[in-house]
């Protein structure tokens, strides 16, 4: 009997093996159904066509053409490099865009940022209804960040950076619009800064260029990505600046940060994972729009919300949080911020104030094209002549 049971068990196990079923009983594999009909880039494009044509309206065709064309880069200048790369690049026609801003705004820059309307701060769209666009409140930027770009309409490319005599590379090529969140973060002398989703390291490097950070905490969930980040930092920043007392690189789950370190950081950069619009349109490998990552893509806004909330919790009262993405999607931008402000107030008792970034948009309108009339935060939209972005950012200040 036991033997019979055994054989039956064995048979049941064996049933899955295809070689034992007769050919005529075998189920023919429906390979045509399982195979993706379209490549992921096409799916991404279809998705964008459906959502953004509604969201951006008239602007979408131009943004679409820009997204599908070659992007422009900015050269984030390495202040730790000893060669005079800036002069070299400027001779080729590059301009340092943070200094190349609109003149009428510049005088205000020296003043302290004023905290306007604290009692209104809980409401999300407080400062958008400012009728007088000329009297934009002043805005402070992180110092020392230099990013060189070719002027509007110029499609020249940068050469790969060369190392100086100490092995430090001269510049880091990245989307120039990605420097904006770092500029807007307004890092001041001695600040404790947290970069919650740091890899691959462009923004971290930009933060380090300020040379005024007291302690920088760098985190990314993925270990492989943090190791890449470490390599980037090592090839740009000399060792003494990467010592234990100055920098910490971790691979924790960013959403749990509120439980690890509460009320610690003066500045928090939350550059969340998103649908990375430009990348998704260009690269089929590991594309977030591929069929097998659908679930992950659906959960993105949820993850983004959790990360932003963790960032808010990690910030000390009076500290500032900057939320940024590289997508145009409203669901991943505005909605997440709105939801986060609401949840922070309801569940955690944290009151937040939205810092108006429109002066920043006004300052750099020569270099970037900004989306008009955004109710919350600012967004760089790609334009074929200034093919940077998309970058969305929104700055929050923690009140209590």
């Amino acid at each position: 009997m036991a033997l019979l049971m055994d054989t039956r068990l064995l048979l049941r196990k064996v049933k899955d093996l295809r070689c034992l079923t007769q050919r005529r009983h075998r189920v023919k594999e429906k390979w045509a159904v399982t195979r993706t009909k379209y490549p992921a880039t096409t799916l991404a494009l279809q998705n964008f066509d459906a959502t953004y044509s509604v969201q951006l309206g008239q602007l979408w065709p131009s943004v679409r053409a820009a997204l599908l064309s070659e992007r422009k880069y900015g050269a984030l200048l390495n202040n730790y490099c000893h060669d005079d790369v800036q002069a070299e690049l400027q001779a080729k026609g590059c301009k340092d865009f943070p200094t190349d801003k609109e003149i009428e705004v510049q005088p205000c820059l020296e003043q302290e940022p004023e905290v306007a309307g604290e009692e209104e701060s809980c409401r999300v769209s407080v400062e958008k209804s400012d009728p007088d666009a000329q009297q934009l409140p002043p805005l402070q930027l992180s110092p020392n960040i230099k990013c060189l770009v070719f002027p509007r309409g110029d499609i020249t490319r940068f050469k790969p950076a060369r190392p100086d005599m100490f092995g430090c590379l001269g510049y880091y090529l990245m989307d120039a619009a990605s420097v904006l969140p770092c500029l807007a973060l307004n890092v001041q002398e001695g600040h404790n800064v947290l970069d919650l989703c740091a890899a691959p390291g462009g923004k971290t490097l930009a933060l380090l260029q300020t040379k005024s950070i007291g302690f920088l905490c760098v985190n990314d969930t993925s270990v492989s990505r943090t190791s890449r980040l470490r390599k980037v930092l090592q090839s740009y920043v000399p060792k003494p600046f990467l010592s234990e007392g100055k920098l910490r690189i971790t691979s924790f789950d960013g959403t749990k940060w509120g439980e690890i370190e509460r009320n610690t950081f003066d500045r928090v950069l939350v550059d969340v994972p998103c649908t990375t619009d430009r990348h998704s349109l260009m690269e089929d490998d590991n594309n977030i729009f591929s069929k097998n990552r659908t679930g992950e893509r659906r959960r993105l806004p949820q993850l983004q919300l959790a990360l932003l909330l963790a960032g808010i919790e990690a910030a000390c009262p009076g500290g500032e949080i900057l939320y940024s993405t590289c997508t145009l999607s409203q669901v991943q931008n505005l909605s997440v911020v709105e939801q986060a402000i609401h949840t922070a107030r309801e569940d955690h008792g944290i009151h937040l104030q939205v810092v108006d970034l429109r002066p920043l948009a006004h300052m750099f309108r020569k270099t970037f094209q900004f989306a008009p009339n955004l109710p919350l935060g600012v967004m760089v939209v790609p334009h074929i002549a200034a093919n940077f972005g998309p970058i969305y950012m929104c700055k929050l200040r923690r009140l209590a």
Partner: protein, 344 residues
């Protein structure tokens, strides 16, 4: 009437010199045949009877006694050219004087007049394409005959010749090959080929590969059938123009390649409206874009295609390397050339 007079003048003048230049047999073969094809012309001119060279005509023109085939100023005026036109023509032909080609000048004029073109357009044609002076009489007959055979009827024929006189410098064989190519590789019908030749005769001299690429690009990438290609005079435009405008629209989401059933999600603009407008009208009416955008786009595209071509060149070079090792030096030389270009 002007043409008829001119033709008869040429005829008279030719007859006058005929004895010295051609043997009667040759003359019959070479000259009468085109005249017969333009039947009406010959009949009317002969019936009026100015064909016989009169005595005083000869005496007036002492040049005519000499056994020369070159054109003189008065003879040009005789043919119906105005003084200034005749002078220009004379200058043009005098450059050829003494060369072997000079003796064809007369036959060229004859052939053109026989087509029914008036002196001023003849002059314009020859100005546009002086190579016509070098074409022999029999070549003229063959080529014009061939064009008639291809369905270019009177009227169209004259239009083609006056718009694109270079077509008469192309050997019959080349034209036939192009027509064969259009019919067999691109599946145009006979009538469509005729229309193509009439509207864009320059196809006969276009590079075959380029032509095929253009056709396939429009057929496969844009999903457009032959009839519409003919209607929109596709072959008048360069591949770059077509490709650039199409890609611009495609990236803006205004053009989609139709699927197997010829369906698209959006309504594509007609090929006609993509190609025919000048740039500004195209941008405002079809693409809805600014001039700045299109200008930058064109530069980006030019670079993209250049790189694509280089990439293909490299791939071809690599595959060649595997096959033949003898040419290795050449291939690597070519590759390093590409690399140099890319570095710039």
């Amino acid at each position: 009437m002007g043409t008829r007079v001119a033709a008869s003048q040429v005829l008279r003048w030719t007859l006058r010199n005929a004895t010295s230049v051609f043997s009667p047999l040759q003359f019959g073969r070479c000259l009468l045949q085109p005249l017969c094809t333009g039947g009406r012309l010959l009949c009317s001119s002969t019936s009026h009877g100015p064909l016989q060279p009169t005595l005083h005509d000869r005496e007036l023109n002492p040049l005519s006694r000499q056994p020369v085939t070159e054109l003189s100023l008065p003879s040009l005026v005789d043919m119906g050219f105005t003084d200034s036109q005749a002078e220009q023509m004379y200058e043009a032909t005098s450059k050829l004087r003494g060369t072997s080609t000079s003796k064809h000048a007369l036959s060229t004029l004859t052939a053109l007049f026989v087509l029914g073109l008036n002196p001023s357009s003849v002059q314009k044609i020859l100005e546009k394409c002086p190579e016509l002076y070098t074409v022999t009489e029999s070549q003229f007959q063959q080529r014009i005959g061939n064009m008639r055979k291809l369905g270019l009827v009177e009227g169209s024929l004259q239009r083609v010749v006056s718009h694109y006189p270079q077509i008469l410098t192309v050997p019959v064989k080349t034209v036939k090959n192009v027509v064969l190519f259009l019919k067999e590789k691109c599946l145009f019908t006979f009538q469509q080929v005729t229309d193509l030749l009439r509207d864009s005769p320059a196809v006969v001299l276009e590079d075959r590969g380029q032509l095929e690429y253009k056709f396939q690009y429009v057929y496969f990438r844009m999903g457009i059938k032959q009839a519409e290609m003919v209607k929109s005079r596709l072959f008048r435009y360069t591949l770059e123009e077509v490709r650039c405008r199409h890609c611009f629209l495609e990236r803006r989401g205004l053009y989609q390649t139709p699927d197997k059933k010829g369906q698209t999600m959006i309504i594509n603009p007609k090929l006609d409206s993509i190609l025919h407008f000048d740039q500004d009208t195209f941008l405002t009416n079809v693409a809805n874009a600014s001039a700045e955008e299109y200008e930058v786009f064109q530069r980006l595209m030019a670079r993209e295609w250049l790189e694509e071509e280089q990439l293909q060149g490299n791939i071809e070079a690599d595959s060649d390397d595997d096959e033949e090792e003898d040419e290795e030096d050449e291939e690597t030389g070519g590759k390093s050339g590409y690399r140099k270009k890319r570095k710039r």
